[in-house]
């Protein structure tokens, strides 16, 4: 641990890696809460994969990959909505069709570019190689996402909890859905370097799911989820640096361990507490 802190003081790349992954922990944690509460975990996975062709396209055109990613991410979510609304095909099937198609075309585009190292980094992330420009764009995206969630907290809450009421009093629920999809795409782009496309979904849903088990209030859940995301990032980066493990995978596994802790020890909802309650009840009855 002391070695890690020493290295942190000494190496610029490690400082950048830590800052970036902490920011990713926060924004994934926050957006993830809305993703799981709206039952859109699969959608989160889909959008993160759908970003790939956009990134490839941006490389080809020589523009910031941010634009291409948002473009194909939003396009895919529109396509998913279009198919499930205009046919009898269910939403999860429509998601499966669209995102694999987007992902496959992304892979082909990148192989045409003949740079398989880039593909590996995009898919699995490499936070230790993060560049200052990428760190800053992560920060900007992070600020934008947090400000949006803060500003529209009320609308996000009511439309996630009771979309019928939201629509009945005149909220544009469909606009809110696509707005959230856009935020999700941004978060995915910001997380590319840290955990990569394939594992982003874990950072979105695992900390949020752990937080979900720990509280009955949405705003508390948002803070907890962000906190768990940050803790996962720090722990993951520590193990990644110390034992030379893939950074994205280490961060995701750290989040999984935290989730398991919440699952087992959560007050009221955890396994341990429920077991204790059952034993007490049985004792009461047998007396």
């Amino acid at each position: 641990m002391i070695n890690f802190i020493d290295a942190l003081m000494y190496y610029g790349f490690l400082q950048k890696a830590l800052t970036t992954s902490i920011m990713v922990g926060v924004i994934c944690g926050v957006i993830g809460c809305f993703i799981i509460l709206r039952g859109m975990a699969l959608m989160g996975d889909a959008i993160s994969h759908a970003v790939l062709p956009g990134v490839a396209l941006s490389y080809m055109l020589g523009i910031n990959f941010f634009f291409g990613a948002v473009f194909t991410g939003v396009l895919t979510s529109l396509g998913i909505g279009f198919i499930s609304q205009n046919s009898r095909i269910k939403n999860d099937v429509s998601i499966g069709i669209m995102f694999t198609a987007a992902f496959a075309s992304g892979i082909i585009m990148i192989t045409l570019m003949k740079s398989s190292t880039d593909l590996y980094h995009i898919l699995f992330g490499n936070v230790l190689a993060v560049r200052p420009s990428e760190m800053w764009s992560t920060l900007l995206i992070g600020i934008f996402v947090i400000v949006c969630v803060y500003a529209f907290y009320k609308e996000l809450l009511v439309s996630s909890f009771d979309s019928t009421m939201a629509a009945a009093y005149g909220l544009p629920t469909r606009v809110i859905h696509y707005f959230l999809m856009t935020l999700l795409t941004l978060v995915t782009v910001a997380s590319l370097q840290t955990v990569g496309i394939v594992l982003v979904v874990a950072m979105l849903i695992t900390p949020a799911a752990a937080a979900y088990l720990l509280t009955n209030r949405l705003w508390v859940m948002l803070y907890l989820s962000a906190g768990i995301g940050v803790l996962s990032s720090i722990l993951g980066l520590y193990f990644s640096y110390t034992y030379n493990l893939a950074s994205g995978a280490a961060i995701v596994l750290a989040a999984t361990v935290l989730f398991i802790l919440a699952f087992v020890f959560s007050p009221k909802k955890g396994l341990v507490w429920r077991a204790i309650k059952n034993i007490r009840k049985r004792e009461m009855l047998s007396r």
Binding site: K154, E155, S160, F161, A168, Y169, G170, N216
Partner: protein, 247 residues
């Protein structure tokens, strides 16, 4: 007496099959009205069409003489209990506080005065002691009372309730109907989708009897006659009766 809800030649269909056909009626202000009819008669669909939550094929709906879009904040909707995610991380009090949102507008947070009002609404349904519970920890009747409190917090002119008495204990049902009657006496209009014919006479002033088409509409005593009800309910059983006749 002013007209609260006016529906003219309303048609609604889902994926090609007709859910509502040529439905017309008007509800005056200050009435407690029940919508009754067999399963699949389009009762919930009618409420949703009033709120413009589903596409109308044809027809007009006027709320207090204007379109629903202009009158959205004057109408409160209490959904069927089965349509709510009861595991959502939200407390009883915060659920009622949602009722103050329509008046607040974007970017504004509920203030002390809104919270005090939400508390008052929770008091009316007798649920203040449960205010910090998560909504899933309540019984069905208590959940329904909380959602009625949320509607009260919206301070609407018109209340639309979808099956509020399903899976509800006797005390809660009595509390709810008492509040609905009080609202009516204050001049509010209350429309309730209901499936239990026995209590209809006690509860409502007027009935809308529906089976895809409007079978009858008027004061309870007129609609609740066996020969009128048969027209709505017999349609559902007619294949069976035919079979018996043949045998």
């Amino acid at each position: 007496m002013k007209t609260a809800i006016a529906v003219k030649e309303l048609y609604v269909s889902y994926f090609g099959s007709e859910a509502l056909k040529n439905v017309s009626f008007t509800v005056e202000e200050g009435k407690l009205v029940g919508i009754i009819g067999p399963n699949g008669a389009g009762k919930s669909t009618l409420l949703k069409a009033l709120l413009n939550l589903i596409q109308k094929e044809k027809g007009e709906v006027a709320i207090l003489g204007k379109t629903i879009k202009e009158m959205r904040t004057k109408v409160a909707y209490v959904p069927q209990r089965s349509s709510i995610d009861w595991d959502f991380p939200i407390t009883v009090f915060d659920t009622v506080l949602l009722g103050t949102y329509p008046k607040l507008g974007v970017f504004k947070r509920p203030k002390k005065i809104d919270k005090a009002f939400a508390y008052e609404c929770l008091e009316k349904v007798g649920m203040t002691e449960f205010r910090n519970r998560q909504i899933g920890e309540l019984s069905g009747g208590q959940q329904q009372r909380v959602f009625l409190a949320r509607a009260l917090a919206q301070e609407p002119e018109i209340y639309l309730l979808d099956e509020p008495f399903v899976g509800v204990d006797v005390t809660s049902e009595e509390t709810i109907i008492l509040i609905l009657k009080q609202l009516r006496d204050l001049g509010k209009t209350v429309v309730v989708v209901h499936h239990d014919l026995r209590k209809a006479k006690e509860y409502f002033n007027e009935l809308i009897l529906l089976n895809k088409e409007l079978i009858d509409f008027g004061v309870v005593e007129k609609v609740i006659q066996p020969e009128v009800l048969e027209k709505a309910y017999n349609i559902q059983f007619s294949p069976l009766t035919n079979l018996e006749a043949k045998a």
